[in-house]
């Protein structure tokens, strides 16, 4: 091969190289600049593709007035179909707040969380193509929310009330005819970070309609607030007069409640 031909071949190979090797796309930079992101990214999503996507919105205060109950709401409905959502607090001792499976529900969830220090609060939403779409914001905080003593134990009869549910559902609205449902479960949600108080928290919650069809499923974890509150937008079967909430905590305690849909004719009151 003449030098000239060799050079041409090298150039051709160089030009073809990237296409043939199908190099992985460049890993996107974390817009929130979190020191924990590289670790969390590998931990939570492995090699699955991620994209920082403004269509996933997180509503939370700029400053956490009460570090034991910071309101957070995540909305991924702009993505269309979402199979799973994860709420993440990068700098909490336990970063994952919950995993949400909106089986027959909008990919929207509201709840309240504890924060131990100022932290990014993120929602990741997985679309059917396996891509995680991630949005979030930074919440400033005095902190200490994860190690504040629970208020629950101030009441001597607290154990009699664990698992009590308060709830309400609203008539369907919007084009997608989803019904908003909110429930609050009495539970200390001990995260195990306070000396002498072992971890004791709700780990599973599920909402079904009257046909027994699962609408929404939650795997709940340490950062959730004491007596946690959840807001979901679900699509029950048209004839469902009530929803059933079931759940379980880490000590096998069962949660069971019936939430009336009062606008359905003849609904239980």
């Amino acid at each position: 091969m003449t030098p000239r031909l060799l050079a041409t071949a090298v150039i051709a190979a160089a030009l073809a190289g990237p296409a043939l090797a199908a190099e992985p796309a460049q890993e996107p930079l974390d817009p929130l600049g979190s020191v924990m992101w590289d670790v969390l990214r590998a931990d939570l999503f492995g090699k699955a593709p991620i994209v920082f996507d403004e269509r996933v919105t997180v509503s939370a205060p700029d400053n956490a007035e009460n570090a034991t109950a910071v309101p957070v709401s995540a909305d991924a409905s702009a993505l269309g179909v979402v199979e799973e959502m994860v709420l993440i607090t990068d700098l909490n001792p336990f970063p994952v707040v919950l995993r949400y499976h909106p089986v027959a529900a909008k990919p929207v969830i509201g709840t309240r969380i504890r924060v131990q220090q100022a932290t990014p609060v993120r929602a990741a939403a997985r679309t059917p193509d396996g891509v995680w779409h991630i949005g979030g914001k930074v919440v400033d905080a005095a902190g200490g929310g994860c190690t504040a003593p629970p208020v629950t134990y101030a009441a001597p009869d607290w154990a009699d009330h664990v698992g009590e549910v308060q709830a309400r559902a609203w008539a369907p609205t919007g084009e997608d005819k989803t019904s908003r449902v909110r429930f609050r479960v009495r539970h200390p949600m001990d995260n195990g970070l306070i000396a002498g108080i072992p971890a004791y928290f709700i780990e599973k919650l599920s909402l079904r309609d009257a046909d027994g069809k699962e609408l929404a499923r939650l795997e709940t974890l340490e950062p959730l607030s004491e007596n946690p509150v959840f807001t979901l937008d679900v699509k029950p079967g048209a004839s469902s007069r009530a929803l059933t909430l079931t759940g379980r905590d880490t000590q096998g305690g069962e949660i069971e409640a019936v939430i009336s849909l009062p606008w359905v004719q003849g609904a239980v009151q």
Partner: protein, 310 residues
């Protein structure tokens, strides 16, 4: 030599504002009525840039001595306040009144430890219970300005009454709503109302210990007073009662709006960025205080609105 000195002063001044340096509130007593002075605070939130100087403490010079109303956010503030009072009168301090338990009202108490410090019983209890935590939080928020500050609870419980110092008849009015115990002081002699925590003027009301319906009732109690000058706890001093109406307007809007959104199904995080009507644009720290109020007021409203289902 003089030029050199001036240069050194300028140089030192520059350094001292950039480094931690000697901090000063630079307090100036502003006369607002006969014998009556106020130290006007900023309309901001606690911050390192203002040292926590966001309150309007004041004093009345009477023939029986000086009556001090609130002592400010830090030991340094209390000491500077006492020195500033001395520039106005040589009369001794007769008594200090503290209007409620929030930290900027009483953390200057150390500077007045040699005189009786009076407050409503509920305020004294509140300071004993929460004072330490509030003090620590102030160190976090305003930093070095707090150096040497320790919580000192008021020493003397007072009740609703009219007390006379020299020619000044002071009506002590116990109220509640901004906190569990709010003391307003109306000087019948001059018509000056030190409204305490219940009236804000061009500054968004704060609600960490608030009961809004009770607060609205407290405003109704102040409305009929023959006020010539109204000193709100925070914000602009006025010669009319517009600040009472403004505080009522804000609290009414806040309470109604959160209640209506709750009934419509809104989630707590979803109401954080609701639009706020333009008429409130003149209120300082508007969005920030609104978001704090959501944290204070929403959970209890929500609990009341969610029926038990199991």
């Amino acid at each position: 030599m003089r030029a050199l000195l001036a240069f050194v002063v300028v140089l030192f001044g520059t350094i001292s504002t950039q480094a931690a340096g000697p901090l000063t509130y630079n307090l100036k007593p502003v006369p607002i009525a006969p014998d009556t002075y106020v130290f006007e605070g900023t309309r901001e939130h606690f911050h390192r840039s203002n040292g926590g100087n966001i309150l309007n403490p004041g004093f009345i010079v009477t023939d029986d001595g000086v009556i001090v109303i609130q002592t400010g956010p830090s030991r340094r503030f209390g000491e500077e306040m006492r020195a500033a009072i001395k520039t106005v009168t040589d009369k001794p301090i007769r008594k200090v009144f503290i209007s409620n338990l929030h930290p900027d009202y009483w953390l200057g108490n150390q500077a007045f430890a040699d005189v009786p410090i009076a407050a409503l019983p509920g305020t004294i209890e509140g300071i004993k219970a929460e004072g330490k935590g509030m003090t620590e939080n102030m160190y976090r928020m305003v930093g070095d300005w707090m150096r040497g500050t320790e919580p000192v609870a008021p020493t003397e419980p007072v009740y609703g009454s009219t007390v006379v110092y020299g020619s000044h008849r002071l009506r002590l009015i116990p109220l509640e709503g901004h906190t569990a115990a709010d003391l307003a002081i109306f000087d019948e002699t001059t018509g000056v109302l030190f409204a305490g925590g219940v009236v804000f003027s061009d500054r968004t009301p704060t609600t960490p210990h608030a009961d809004v319906p009770k607060w609205l009732k407290a405003l109704d109690e102040l409305e009929p007073l023959g006020v010539t000058v109204l000193v709100p706890n925070h914000g602009r001093i006025r010669t009319d009662k517009a600040a009472i109406a403004q505080t009522r307007d804000w609290l009414g809007w806040l309470h109604r709006t959160l209640h209506d959104r709750m009934e419509a199904g809104a989630d707590m995080a979803e109401v954080l960025n609701l639009p706020i009507p333009e008429r409130f644009d003149s209120l300082g720290v508007l969005r920030e205080e609104y978001q704090r109020s959501v944290a204070h007021l929403w959970p209890a409203m929500e609990q009341a609105a969610l029926p038990r289902v199991n």
